[in-house]
Symmetry: none
């Protein structure tokens, strides 16, 4: 008789929003933003088209929600590492390893982000925010490379970023076949100063 409590409503909302955004993420990643229809998304989420519009004002807003969540995951990870007490070499190692973990575990997110990176008009509204965030991330990474004593830390950081982006791209093309573990070791070997940096207590040779 009495209306549902607001916490009940809130729980229902959370549940539905989560299912919708998960389904949308999958379909956007599989078929691209334009290629995934609201009908498909709501069907995969197991809700009606109408309900989707209760929670997201438009297809674009749904995309923005997903993109921002994905980006924030990366931001949080970077922030956590950068603000830790570890030395710069350890920070770079951690960042490398956790980035790859994130790539593997949240493949769909990153596939989506990558595909959007080449269709600028779709994220038009979000671009200022995203560029700001990317600039922030780059600056944080730069401090790590400065700490490592590189002569040209900015360029070295850009190079490292290119490597990581390229790795991600190639992994996404064939997730099952890519020798990610070897590539990770190679990256660490290339960027970490030998004889100085210790891994798990041992000196890195």
């Amino acid at each position: 008789m009495s209306p549902r409590s607001s916490s009940q409503f809130e729980a229902m909302r959370q549940e539905s929003m989560h299912r919708i955004s998960e389904a949308a993420l999958e379909l956007f990643a599989e078929r691209g933003y334009k290629g995934a229809s609201i009908a498909q998304i709501s069907k995969r989420a197991g809700v009606s088209k109408g309900l989707l519009y209760n929670y997201f004002e438009s297809k674009q807003e749904l995309l923005h929600y997903i993109v921002l969540h994905a980006v924030e995951t990366g931001e949080d990870m970077l922030e956590e590492i950068v603000s830790s007490a570890a030395g710069p070499a350890e920070k770079l190692r951690q960042f490398t390893e956790r980035s790859i973990e994130l790539l593997v575990s949240d493949l769909k997110h990153w596939r989506l982000l990558a595909s959007l990176a080449f269709q600028p008009d779709i994220l038009n509204d979000l671009m200022p925010v995203l560029e700001q965030k990317q600039g922030d991330a780059m600056n944080k990474m730069k401090t790590v490379f400065e700490g490592l004593g590189y002569e040209n830390p900015t360029e070295e950081m850009l190079f490292y970023s290119a490597v990581m982006d390229g790795l991600a791209m190639q992994y996404m093309q064939a997730p099952g076949h890519y020798p990610m573990d070897q590539m990770k070791e190679l990256v660490l070997n290339k960027f970490l100063p030998k004889g100085v940096y210790t891994r798990n207590g041992e000196v890195w040779a």
Copy 2:
């Protein structure tokens, strides 16, 4: 009112196909495959929709035509370099420099290819061919890295590929601002054995 010779017709054909595929390339690159309509493409090409369908059976076929042309440009370049008489270091340098030139001069092509790389279903029909070509290219690159005496030429080649892909990605994000020249030097420095490789007749130090 003599009938046009068949060579005249053929020239018109070529001209029309070229204009259509140029227009399509631009629009696919700007708005994505799904986002570019046949009406827009034919308008920008200055032909009627009907004529477009005289030359290309479908929107997909038009895309395939463009993609294959772009890929072949890269293939030709690689083949030319690999089959040349130059040593492996020189080959890698040439490949690096010419890849970057190609990226800068044909930005739209590569932007399109990159965006398609993350929308597997769009290129479904073309995938076997493309994977074949990519495998071929990788094998050719591998021989270069073998020639350079690397211990793990395959991994080193993958790493180099990742770098080049990453560079391209970052350049596409902000073509006006990216320090491509410095990055190119950095790449050459990282991958070319010092004291051995000669550049423009001088020893590389």
Copy 3:
């Protein structure tokens, strides 16, 4: 926690129904029947959609409720005047003045009614009732014009009705700018026999 008395419930009921129908009236008048959504109405009324449907079975019923209330206001006014002890000239003057007052004070109601008058299918179900009421009103007005001694009271009454409707239409188009007071005087001058009819105790010249 004593249960509310039924009169308390009844008061709440009245309060809610009133708020809903006021909100609905405003929105119907602003955006038309089709243009106003139940969501908007319930929001402006400060109640939930569910509650709205407790009181009104459907959007149509809500409209009917409002329309009938508005019409009854007019009916009551006419009845009061016609059944008064005043002479026909006085009756016409009163009707004219009070109609205009009603128009100005309840602009939204009349705007709504006017817009509905031209969309027959929306009021389909209500039409028999409305036509009946309109016929009744016309008959009452006719007796006034008969009392005034017109040769063709029916036509004269129709003419007067047209004038009043036209005035209302024009006023609604630009409520802020219309010289309603002058027009009212003009109407009285045109329809009231001079030298006979007294206004506020004075003879009308």
Copy 4:
């Protein structure tokens, strides 16, 4: 073999646009702007939904096209009469008679215009133009009333306009039953100065 000539295309365009706008006019008049769907309109016009959008960019534009055409019909009529060599009384008679003819023959147009008059937001974009046109028309009518020697020509003209609008409203409510001919005579009697104005060569008494 050769493409259709542009005049052939033009003829097809005209034919289709005409059928579409006729169908739209009918349905807008019957069910209101919001109540008439594109599907219904294109079905009644005997064309596909897609074709409708070849000729009209949106439902709104279709409405604007129809409204402007209707308004221009009235404008042309007024202009023709006002600029004629007839005296003011004759002009007023002609305007009255031809307005009524237009009302009866193009009932749908006027019903549509009337219904739109009360839904301001629908014609928002067109309002400036329409108000301009209405102002122009009122000024022209004013010159006629000035010519008739009225003391307050503006008010008298407004009164006349109200009468004509009201007549139209009432006629639209029950086109089959309204005694339009008698009302017309009544209007002429009320507004035309007796003994001065000649009709068909006779003096009006």
